[in-house]
Symmetry: C2
């Protein structure tokens, strides 16, 4: 090939060399310049196009580095062989469409609500600003993969004071949300384990563990929580439990059951208990129930905590406390994995805890949730005699049980027709087969006292027999 004719635009924003490169590339792609063809010499082409030789050289170099042409010493540039694949048409694959907009309700009794109006924006902004003014370079350097040491220490102090858990910062691992923490834990524990879940349970964790290819088995509850006999016959290696406030039934596991559970874990080297202490911050009667981990003398409990529930869902900050034996496995198997939480966020929450803002925030939200809790109970007692209340005094939801033969579905639908969203217990059950009495969850964190009053009155009307 001796000539290549192209219309170069001198006034284009695209540099001349790039125009030449694009032109030749497209001719090679389309097959107009075939495999093996020699390109004109840089001298010849520069003369032909009336551009500088270095412009053509630049274009050829780009074609060379992308592999469209090959250079043969002393002979020049030749078109490389581009496989046929280039010309295969693109398969049409549909992308899933956005899920349709969810129905809107006048009142939503979601059990996963968090009151965001009480979020301390002002403090958060202040801390964020101060931290970004401080450290500078250090702040954006790669951090400790386990989480910043100072932040882990603050978590330890908090756990000791608030949950009775005595642990070292070396045992704490920080991660961006509880889902991630479970992924990391699965890498530490390894595969091939059987995990016993309370039934009903916190479905997000159940889905995670199933998604991580663990065999999961449902374990029944009695009035004291997970049945250790059931755990024993199930052959489970790990028990995933919520002893401070069983989710969603609200059962507080009594001391005796706790001890039985710890004994079960102590019996075999491979057994561990995962204690998900998801909403221990909210208890409205007496002192907080200490965590199971605080009685864990033989170090069999993996403790999970989160700030997403107690501060705000968008704060992606959770942690686990590992038994000392598992710290060795973590070091060996997973400590190379970089932290998923930015240093900035860790420092903000550290200051938030250390400067006392966290305690104040918890006291404020606890008082607010308590008023909503009391209001809900009062309203339910005066308007609803068709059901019984349970799981109250803690957390941010309670349960209504109907023994009049109506199904959960009926009750949920009736509420929906009145613009109220309530949640049936069956969504939290692993085994769907058993016929149970109808149980409805009512969460109150997201509703004002006035909304609670209005909604309960409406519910009483639409649930009247």
């Amino acid at each position: 090939m001796n000539e290549l004719t192209m219309n170069l635009k001198v006034d284009s924003k695209v540099p001349l060399y790039e125009q030449i490169y694009r032109y030749i590339k497209s001719d090679i792609q389309s097959g107009r310049i075939p495999y093996g063809e020699k390109l004109p010499s840089t001298r010849a082409l520069s003369r032909h196009l009336e551009v500088s030789r270095s412009t053509v050289e630049l274009a050829y170099e780009q074609l060379l580095s992308e592999g469209y042409v090959e250079a043969e010493p002393c002979r020049g540039f030749f078109v490389a062989q581009i496989d046929e694949l280039y010309h295969i048409g693109q398969e049409k694959v549909r992308v899933p469409e956005k899920k349709e907009e969810e129905k809107t309700y006048r009142y939503d009794f979601t059990p996963n609500g968090v009151d965001l109006k009480s979020f301390p924006y002002h403090v958060w902004r202040k801390l964020s600003k101060e931290i970004l003014m401080d450290d500078r370079t250090e702040l954006f350097r790669s951090g400790d993969s386990q989480g910043e040491y100072g932040f882990r220490s603050a978590v330890c102090s908090y756990l000791y004071q608030a949950r009775g858990v005595d642990c070292l910062p070396e045992q704490v691992i920080i991660g961006a949300g509880s889902d991630y923490i479970l992924m990391l834990l699965s890498m530490i524990l390894g595969g091939g384990l059987r995990i016993g879940f309370e039934d009903p349970t916190y479905k997000q964790a159940y889905r995670m563990m199933t998604g991580l290819s663990y065999e999961t088995v449902p374990i029944g509850l009695d009035k004291n929580g997970i049945m250790v006999s059931g755990l024993r016959t199930s052959g489970a290696d790990i028990a995933y439990v919520t002893p401070s406030h069983q989710y969603p039934t609200g059962i507080v596991m009594p001391m005796k059951r706790r001890m039985e559970l710890l004994l079960w874990a102590h019996e075999e080297e491979r057994r561990y208990i995962i204690e998900d202490d998801y909403d221990s911050e909210f208890r409205y009667k007496g002192k907080p129930i200490p965590a199971l981990k605080s009685y864990d003398r033989n170090d069999r409990v993996i403790y999970l905590g989160t700030f997403s529930k107690s501060i705000a869902p968008a704060i992606r900050l959770s942690y686990m406390v590992l038994p000392k034996q598992l710290i060795w496995k973590y070091q060996e198997r997973s400590s190379f994995i970089q932290s998923t939480v930015s240093k900035v966020d860790q420092l903000i929450v550290q200051r938030f805890i250390e400067d006392g803002y966290y305690e104040r925030h918890l006291n404020k939200t606890r008082a607010m949730y308590k008023s909503r809790h009391d209001m809900l109970i009062e309203e339910l007692k005066s308007h609803m005699d068709m059901c019984s209340i349970s799981g109250e005094h803690a957390g941010v939801h309670l349960l209504l049980t109907f023994r009049d033969g109506r199904s959960e579905e009926e009750l949920v639908k009736a509420a929906e027709a009145a613009g109220i969203r309530v949640y049936g217990m069956s969504a939290y059950r692993i085994r769907k087969t058993e016929k149970k009495e109808a149980t409805i969850l009512l969460g109150y964190a997201n509703l004002t006292e006035r909304q609670i009053r209005e909604a309960v009155e409406l519910l009483a009307q639409c649930w009247k027999k």
Copy 2:
């Protein structure tokens, strides 16, 4: 039991009810009050201790809710059975000690360096402040599990302009760092797959995939990158590659090899290519090489990108672009997993991209790295005739190859003695058995031009034969 004597401190910070609760709890734990014993009635105890009856009731309720006592209707409170386990002593398990401080070097040619002095603190602070002033409640509400739509759109625009990748926001998934992205990908792909890795390779990804229980196989390189014939005989389902700039050899995969690789993936339904485009932003000669994904007409390439390398390591923000078929699997298997990146961080980076700061930042760092790159090459050429240079023109490191019989270890040790840290290629190889010529990696992102000049002079002296 009719009496319980305890010294209550009226002036203590601990409330009276809690003092009573603690006293009885400790007596139950120690066995001083045995199982089955009846506690004094609240009336009797309140009279005995001279406190109000509600104080005693509060203490009993706490003991009840923690399960230390049981209530029998009309009969009173009885000590519950606490298992023996409570008295088993704690096993002593050592916690791994902090790793000893790493040796300090005068000059560190790390290939993973990032110049943090050029980090745009001012802009970052400004955006962070503006975003925290804005949205308020919305900002701290739970976000889209795939990442915020606006941010994903900004990533798409960037990828289209800078990398030639044409994708929809629906295909993009945001995550806190590349390690997390691989964890998530493993849940989407499922287990039981064989992954072919370039050898030498990016060891962090190799360790992740091994840690995630995948079978991994090393695939040899020739001058054009990963050998597709090797991939074919290995029986790999997935190829993990760095086509724009092979890590660590710096090979740019030419068009023909790219097409062969895409053809390999097209041959079988289960095959995918993972393209890790880790440092494509830095190229000092000609235009950037388009991503392999930009030629991916049959949608077989999973594209990985990150802002941790191009902005700062502490920005935990990476993403993947999924082929459309895998979006369906993601929806089905993993879309319930909550995002690991806070909305605030996503919004900051979105604004950083959309307002043109990212492009300016890249131009600035690119120019700076180019000067360092040029300085390093110039210095090497004038001082070191004992080795040959390769892998230059892109990324933030280059390679020196020694064919004089000296081992990598010898060269690394000699540099270390002069206070200079350099990196032997063998650390990046999967197969350790083969005897190769000594290759040393020199990264320059972290060193000033002056430091480069000084360090190369020192290196030339200590490596002189």
